[in-house]
């Protein structure tokens, strides 16, 4: 039987939006992810923003450290905080700043701001992933971060799993 020839279309895998969610709870999330990772991600997203068809939506990230509640900001430039609350500081906590540095006010939630020098004091609760507190041992970052000791080796080359340093092609999540 002469049938109609059908072609199965092979779409390419593509991303249509990338959203950084660090702004949802900046102190908690930037501590969790690591200040260096947040910084490098910001650069990657800026670059990807120019790549069609990828649409990069990063409302928090592009605010360069502005607290989303403090007012509008320059989308790609400097922080334009509108209030006297320093960038990244929580509005509901006392403002004890030196310059533009947010100071930890609570031993429950450390206010380390990835865009500013970390000012954890001794009462900052020591999280294993907090790179700010020198008393905390960094457990989870790879050798990409020079402050961290490499914990894991790459299956193919015996080196770090970091793509940057060892070129290991074994993709993993």
């Amino acid at each position: 039987m002469a049938g109609k020839k059908t072609h199965k279309r092979h779409e390419k895998p593509e991303a249509f939006s990338v959203v950084d969610l660090t702004h949802l709870n900046r102190p908690m999330r930037s501590n969790l992810i690591g200040p260096d990772a947040v910084r490098s991600r910001r650069e990657v997203l800026k670059r990807l923003a120019a790549t069609a068809p990828l649409l990069v939506l990063a409302p928090g990230l592009l605010m360069s450290g502005c607290d989303t509640r403090t007012g509008p900001s320059n989308p790609l430039g400097a922080c334009n905080c509108q209030s006297n609350i320093p960038c990244g500081c929580e509005a509901d906590r006392p403002d004890t700043t030196s310059g533009n540095v947010c100071t930890c006010q609570s031993d429950i939630v450390c206010k380390c701001e990835s865009f500013n020098p970390c000012t954890c004091d001794s009462q900052c609760s020591c999280e294993s992933y907090c790179a700010c507190n020198p008393q905390c041992s960094c457990q989870s970052y790879c050798a990409c971060n020079p402050q961290c000791s490499c914990q894991t080796t790459c299956g193919c080359q015996g080196q770090c799993l970091c793509e940057v340093t060892c070129g290991c092609q074994l993709y993993r999540i």
């Binding site: 593509e14 009462q123 457990q139 989870s140 993709y171």
Partner: protein, 449 residues
């Protein structure tokens, strides 16, 4: 990986990486690439996938640092620096859904129990070099019905904290049924006040009648007006039942236009306590989600935080609340429980949550350390049923006390709440993926319970 219902083609899925705080809207083919990679590390897509993979790699989603450890170690013996005192079984109201099934008669906390709890948290705070202790008051019944111990506790704690150089933070959950004089004292002396209030008169009076069966709206409204006059920071706690499941928007509009709360917390009814006799039922999950997401969408302009305990995209953690951390809640009998909803030894859940008691002879608290250690291990990593859920770190296993079976705490969750939690969290995530940006304020920020 979350499939977006009703969408096909571009961005039909969300690849969500909660611990890396990134969400990527992808097409089906990209979703398959990520799924394959998760199942089989090293898998490389055949057709046009390398560019996509490189993008993920650059973002640290592939070959990035391993996810950080989430569980935060707690001391192996309780060392609380905050307490919640369940002062009284008495209540002037007879709410149709009251979990405490309180009445106008009932026991109240003896002063020595309250004092011992305050002494303990201050002592611990000093030993741990903390800067603050927290003192809260909650039900069973209505805490303001034990006015003398409430006020004495605040005064006593303030004096101790002053001499120890500590800051005192105070909170209260109340029905708002008391005199203007008391309202003024509370406004001056309690930092955070949550008023259980169900909105329009018809609903408030039906769901929260007085013990004598009369309307309570005018009494509660008088207090709220006084708080507003004084500029007091307070929030509402609304219980959604089946009978108001389609009126959530109306409740929200009424409560936030007539009064000036800073937070609006809404929870679906959990059947317990007086529900056995009133036959009060929870809202349908779908209706609750519809109502809550709708008010979340409109809340930004009104400036009132919307809170629902299981829908909190802003939060990443391993526990739903302090019930599986270090909550030190003291009942009026002097029992120590980590869960506000489990305050009596007769409760079948007591062998999970009650982990200590006040000893009148020594005037100290003794703890069942083994039970406490079991409690603090009940974080989301231990919950098999949450393992593959995208909302795992947000609702963090949900309310342990509402699990369907205490003997299977790690294996079975409350499916009704799971459905709601996932739907609301996804709604929040999808909103963040719109170019209009964040509305963190609308979603609020739940403090540790």
């Amino acid at each position: 990986m979350i499939e977006r219902t009703g969408r096909s083609g571009a961005a039909s899925h969300i690849a969500y990486f909660p611990l890396k705080s990134i969400a990527v809207g992808v097409n089906r083919q990209a979703a398959e690439v990520i799924g394959n990679l998760k199942r089989r590390p090293g898998h490389v897509p055949a057709r046009g996938g390398l560019k996509f993979l490189n993008m993920l790699t650059e973002l640290g989603l592939v070959n990035g640092p391993p996810d950080p450890p989430m569980a935060r170690p707690l001391p192996l013996a309780p060392r609380p620096t905050r307490t919640l005192l369940l002062l009284s079984e008495r209540c002037p109201l007879a709410c149709v859904y009251c979990y405490g099934a309180s009445s106008t008669r009932g026991a109240r906390m003896p002063w020595p129990v309250a004092r011992a709890a305050i002494d303990l948290i201050v002592r611990n705070a000093q030993a741990q070099k903390r800067t603050q202790v927290e003192l809260g008051f909650h039900g069973g019944g209505e805490p303001t019905t034990h006015w003398s111990v409430l006020t004495r506790s605040v005064t006593y704690a303030r004096r101790l904290c002053k001499s120890a150089g500590l800051r005192l933070s105070t909170s209260l959950c109340t029905n708002g049924i008391f005199s203007i004089i008391k309202a003024q004292w509370l406004a001056r002396n309690i930092d955070g006040i949550t008023v259980s209030f169900d909105g329009p008169p018809q609903i408030q009076n039906a769901q929260r009648p007085t013990a004598a069966g009369h309307a309570s709206f005018a009494l509660a409204a008088r207090t709220l007006k006084e708080f507003d006059r004084l500029g007091k920071n307070y929030g509402f706690r609304v219980t959604a039942t089946e009978s108001i499941q389609d009126r959530i928007g109306e409740v929200y509009d009424y409560a936030t236009t007539r009064f000036k709360p800073r937070q609006f917390c809404i929870e679906p009814l959990f059947v317990c306590g007086r529900c056995a006799t009133t036959l009060c039922r929870p809202p349908a999950a779908e209706s609750f989600v519809k109502g809550v997401t709708r008010i979340m969408d409109t809340a930004v302009s009104r400036g009132v935080e919307i809170q629902y305990s299981g829908g909190r995209l802003f939060h990443l953690g391993t526990t739903f609340c302090g019930a599986s951390r270090d909550n030190f809640f003291v009942t009026l009998q002097g029992l120590v429980t980590s869960c506000i909803e489990v305050s009596k030894e007769a409760d079948p859940r007591s062998n999970v949550f009650i982990y200590g008691r006040y000893q009148p002879d020594s005037r100290l608290f003794s703890f069942n350390t083994a039970r406490y250690r079991r409690l603090i291990k009940l974080h989301v990593d231990a919950l098999e049923s949450c393992r593959d859920c995208f909302a795992r770190w947000h609702c963090a296993g949900d309310c342990l006390a509402k699990a369907p079976d205490m003997r299977a705490l790690t294996r079975r969750r409350n499916e009704y709440r799971c459905e709601i939690n996932k739907a609301i969290t996804l709604h929040q995530l999808e909103h963040e993926m719109k170019p209009s940006g964040s509305r963190r304020k609308a979603y609020g920020r739940k403090k540790n319970a």
